[in-house]
Structure formats: C-alpha cells, structure tokens
Symmetry: C2
Subunit: 411 residues, 2 copies
C-alpha cells in the first residue's frame, strides 16, 4: 500500500495568498463595479526590457537553424550567462565568486526549497518572523519541523522576530542554529542589513559551523551605497553562505523565469561520519540529476540584462518602481500612518492604525478603498499589526490607491 509524506499534513491549510484571493473574489462578486487596485502580491507589471526581448527573439531564430539549434544545455546553465553574472553581480563588487559557483535555475522559490535536499534532517533551522512563507513551508514538507501551534509557529524552528522594537534587525540567536534564512532587502518588511550586521551573522555562522541561506532577490532596489548587495561582500561569507538571486524583480522576469544560486566551492557541512563534505558537489549532483537547465531562449534573455542597453533599461524599471515606493511612503505618512521600508526595497511595511489586526486592516482597505495589500500576520506571528504594500504597479494605480487611502485616513 503506497504511503504519503505525512509531513504535508502538518501544513496549515490557509496559505496566505489563496486566502487573499478568496476575500478579494468574494468582495468583487458582491461589488462588481468596484475598481480594485492590487498592491498585494510582489509581482511586476511593466514590460520586459527591450534588450531582453531582442535577445530572446534572436535565440528563437537560433532554434530554427540546425547549425545553431540547442538541445540539452548544461544543467548548471550556459557558461556565457554564468560568466556575465560572476563579472557583473559579484566580481564588480569585490566578491570572490567564480562562474563555476553559479547555478542557473528557473526560480529562486524553487531553489530556496530544493536546497534542503542536500542537507540532513537533524539541523536546527532559524527563520526571521515575519518571513517569506516558502522557507518555512518547505522545511515542514521536508520533515524538519514539528506541528504548528495556534500562532502558526512550527515546533523545532527557531523564530527571530524582526519588528519596530528591534529596528527590524534580525538578532543573532543565543542558541546554536545550523541553517539560517536571511533575506535583505527584506521581504516583507523592506528592512535592510548593514555590512556590520551581516559580518556579525557571518562570524556567528563560522563560529558555529552554520550555513546562511541569503536571499538577495531584492538587491537591485538598494539605493543606499553603503549597503551590501551580496553576502559575499562580507569577509568569510564564502565559508558559510549560499546566496539566492533572481531576474524576477530587477528585469521583470516573474513570468519569464530565471534565477541563480551561488554555492561557493569552499563551503562544507558534516557527514554522519564527521567528515567535511563539499556542498558544491552535492548541489551539482542534485541539479544534474533532478533538473535539466533553463530554456536556452530565457538564458539569452537573462544574459542581455548585462549588456549596456540591458543595464540602462533595468535601471529605468527599478527607478520607476522605487518612485512608486516613494509616493506610497509619502502619502501614507501624510495620512497619519507609520511606515517602514520602501527606501531600499519595493515593499512598504505599514503599522496598522488604531490597533487593528492585520486582517482587519486588510478588510478595511478592501471594502473602503478597494485596495488590496498583504496582511503582515500572513508572514508570521510577529507580523501581526503590520501590513505590506507593494510598489509593483502602474503610476496611475499607485497614485489612485494612495489618494483613496489618504481620503479615508487623513484626520
């Protein structure tokens, strides 16, 4: 009799985004004329850079020419893309990362989940709270947690609160943890990490033999030149950190699909016999066996992000969304709301007014302003009383949404 992975039954049924979709649909059906504006999910809205489109169109032509046709590519990605990334994203910032340490994939979400394949089930795992739900759910699925309590916290995980009280800084835990998820610029709070803060994490990890999973999906939105874009800007990070990056949010690839994961060859973890095993070798074997590479066409599109035209067009996209973020910050502040983030990240993290819960504020914004955001409590217990507004939308939609909120909340 075939049996299931019972860990799946521990997952809480009410996942955040389906619940948002349910409430929005119910409201929209009852109010078919309400001009709803969605600032909830972190999905881009503006066209793909023309440099990427041109490169992909040319790649499709290659696929029609027998002499240029591409069948199976390297599971790790094409060398020309890995080289472009190594040079532009890492070496240009002083990071000692080689192209061979970069693995191209179809999504950071996939890699953040799949990376657990190469680790043991006896690791103690730390996540921030609030946190991107995928980190937690994939650990539940892998059997790395116990059951959830009433607040939605899973047994066995170490939760590190990031709230206004600690200035949205992920505190170094007093206990020993083996795997640590960090995301800066942070989703959902928009908070950032200074070099000194990341140095403290690297020092902790090296002292404890821990591995940091560093999610840098939003690095392109950093405006403060003193902030690190990569954890490999920190001394010692090559010995303790894996970094996840994506073309989703900088070049608008959420529907095009390309990402990358950096696994330095100097990283090791312990086997059962106490020996040190290179994580690069394990991840390379994992990807070679369970993955077949990203579409040649899409990899050519990603490569174009590093052309002079591509760089200029990506910068323009980023500036556009960050202007949205400035408008959101300004208007919400003028409306008397307390806001965080939105300066080095495309997310504004709002303290709910009048002691409203995250979901109460969600319902109020939806029914009174026809604006959809994301309840902070959906990202973890410490997100209760907060609310995420995304800067990913058209200028007109952002301005209209903010005007409606200002009209309702301004005293």
């Amino acid at each position: 009799m075939a049996t299931i992975n019972n860990n799946y039954l521990k997952l809480k049924a009410g996942y955040l985004f389906p619940e948002i979709a349910r409430r929005v649909n119910t409201f929209a059906q009852a109010n078919p004329d309400a001009p709803i504006i969605r600032l909830g999910i972190g999905d881009v809205t503006e066209p793909l850079p023309v440099a990427c489109r041109t490169a992909m169109t040319n790649a499709i032509e290659d696929m029609g020419d027998r002499s240029k046709f591409k069948g199976y590519g390297p599971e790790q990605g094409y060398a020309w893309l890995r080289e472009a990334i190594a040079t532009n994203d890492f070496q240009s910032r002083g990071c000692d990362i080689d192209a061979s340490e970069i693995f191209i994939s179809d999504g950071s979400k996939c890699d953040c989940g799949n990376i657990l394949d190469i680790f043991g089930h006896d690791n103690t795992i730390a996540v921030t709270d609030p946190v991107y739900p995928v980190y937690v759910d994939t650990n539940v699925m892998a059997g790395n947690t116990g059951d959830a309590n009433d607040k939605g916290e899973y047994g066995g995980l170490v939760y590190l609160p990031i709230t206004a009280e600690n200035d949205f800084t992920a505190q170094i835990p007093s206990q020993k943890v083996d795997l640590i998820y960090l995301c800066f610029p942070n989703n959902p709070t928009g908070a950032t990490a200074t070099k000194a803060h990341l140095q403290a994490w690297v020092d902790y990890a090296k002292a404890n033999g821990s591995i940091i999973f560093f999610d840098a999906a939003y690095e392109a939105f950093i405006t403060d030149p003193s902030l690190p874009h990569s954890i490999y800007e920190i001394d010692g990070a090559r010995d303790c950190a894996i970094e996840f990056r994506s073309f989703s949010k900088n070049a608008g690839f959420t529907g095009t699909r390309c990402a990358l994961t950096v696994v330095p060859k100097t990283l090791t973890a312990k086997a059962a016999d106490g020996s040190d095993v290179e994580l690069w070798k394990l991840w390379n074997r994992r990807q070679s066996t369970k993955f077949n590479g990203v579409s040649y066409i899409v990899q050519r599109g990603a490569e174009a992000v590093y052309s002079p035209e591509g760089k200029a067009q990506v910068k323009e996209l980023i500036n556009f969304y960050m202007e949205n973020a400035q408008i959101i910050r300004k208007e919400l502040t003028a409306a008397g709301l307390q806001v965080f983030g939105g300066i080095n990240a495309p997310y504004v993290w709002v303290k709910t007014p009048d002691g409203l819960s995250s979901w109460e504020f969600f319902d109020k914004l939806l029914t009174n302003c026809f604006v959809v955001g994301t309840p902070g409590s959906g990202f973890g217990a410490a997100g209760e009383g907060y609310f995420r507004i995304s800067a990913f939308n058209s200028r007109a939609n952002v301005e209209t949404a903010m005007q409606r909120i200002a009209d309702k909340f301004k005293v």
Copy 2:
C-alpha cells in the same frame, strides 16, 4: 554544525553520461581528426517546429506590451495549455483526464524526481532493469534505498529485468511493491507495452494499493496503432497511475524545456493514521510551494504543438527520426548484429557481438568507427551485453555511422 543528506554519499560516482564524455574526450584529444558521430545521448538535433517558434516570438511581443504582459502565471500552468493537452493527448484517445489534472513543468526529469516529495520513505519501490538512471538516483537521494552492491544494485529496490529472455516485458513481481516505475516506449530498450500488458499492471496496482509512475516521454514515436500511448487508456488506471510526458522528444524541446505530469484526482495513498489522502492535493501543494510555473513564452510554444501546423510539423520531425531508426535497424542487422526496438521508439537496442561487454563494445565502436553509443550496462546490471543507439541525429550522420559499422562488422 550543519549536516548533509548522507544518502548522497551512497550514489555511485561513475554516472553513465559523464563516463561516456570522459572516454570520448580522451579519444578525441588523442585523435583530433577523427570525425566522431554521437548516437549516445537521447538529444534531438533538428530545428524547432516553425509553429512553436512563431508562437514564442509572438509571446515575446506580448511581454513588451503592458496590457498583455505576463507576470507570475499559475504554478500549474496556463489553462489554455492544460486544456489543449487534455483534449488532444488524452480525451481524443478516450482517456478520462481533465485539464485540472495536468500540471505543466519544465521537465519530466524534474517531475520524475520531485514526485517522491509527496510519498513516504517506507514504500517498496520497483524499477525495471535496465532503467533510466534518474528513477534510481532520485530514490537513493531521497533515502528510499540502502547501499549499492558490486553490480550497482541498491538495497531495498526491487529490480525487474527486461531482456531478450522475457521478450523485454516488465514482469509483474511476485512480491508486493508500492511504487512502480514503468517507461513505454522504453528507454533504453525501445520495447513497448501492449494494452493487455498494462492492464495486468493496473490490475496488480489496484489489488495491492500501489501507484504506477508511467513515463510516456516517447509515446509520439509509436507507429503500431494497437499500442496504448497513455496508461489512462487502460481501465482503472485513474485509480493507480501518475503519467509523465514531455515536449522534449516530440517537438524537440530538450533545450526549450516544457513537460507535464498527470495526477488524477481519484488517486489516493495512505497516511500514517490509515486514512486515504488525495495525491492531487499534495502535488498541487508541492508545486505551488516549490515551483513557480513555466515561462509564459515557452508555454505558448508548447500550445502551438496542438495547432494544425504544429501537429503536421511535429509529425514530420517524428517521421524523420523514425526513418533514421529504420536505417539503423536495417544496417546493423545486415552487419550481423541482433537488434531490438527502433520500431515504436527512437532507440535501437543492440546485442553486443562476440560476447563483448557493453563497455568493450563502446570502446570498439569509438576507436574503430568513431561512433558513440551508450553501454547498456550503464542502465542497470541486466543491460550488460547490450548497447543503445539513438536515432536522434542528421540523416547524413546516421548513414555515415552505419556505413562505418557495416564496414567493420560485416562478414
């Protein structure tokens, strides 16, 4: 101290295709002028159908138009692609499969490995021998096996030999197994399964509460109209089978990346408390959490496979490769070799002559004929003494390779 997944250390280092690459490279370096022809790896060589290229070029234009731009798509794939597949690949052959039961992915290799995520580690697993190595290796990684013996067989797995002695038919095991991998038309042997044979498997699975993983990646190469293309052509299969399909081999998508997995909503397996759990719900949750869908551009290319032009162009591709297979069969037979497969599959399975081992024959073909094939023993212990020749190459290369073999082996 972070620990690794120790199961990875059980994997045999000498994976088949890297070892082939190593031997070919060594030979090529010593003989730089040798005109090597590769009939080893099962990778397509001919251009993508023009219908697919046109559809993808149009999709890139959509991505440049704000009103048609696509961000995150459904993790399960777009409805228009799932509908086209349900109608054309399944309902047209009388299979009761709904579009909602079809999950679009970036590769069958990924899905064949990832499917294990939703199953328990206490299942008894059966594979044929020889077999596509990914089925075995992903079970090793997941901790579903013991160590390998000298023949490369992993403890805990049930091996079902398919050889000339049993007419390349996967025998129903006498013991109870919970998960069974079947691939027809078969990689590597090119063997097929009749409806009666698959009915026996479905009856066995239903009687034992087993789940069949049916890999139909090569169904497009079936020429015999009596053979089933899908396991869902068999009564009862909706209650016991998951099917994997791909656009890689029919439409030449090995470098473009698109595949699909069918999980009927009627499938269940046992939870620890003895209850029946719907596998569709688990797989849907797995894909929603650990996957973000296939590129919109690529999905539009896959959809075009079902247009009238696409269907005609795919048929032409298949016919081309199958003519290659006929040439291979004819010439090898004329050279006195015993051949199997190649009639309903793009692989010809050759009995090595003169009692040569698979690797001895590999070396002989490489050094004497400059032709690369795949040693049967690389697919499992029962593949020893066999050799796989792929029909994926240009007509000129196939004819030249066969001429060289005929010259060496003809008596």
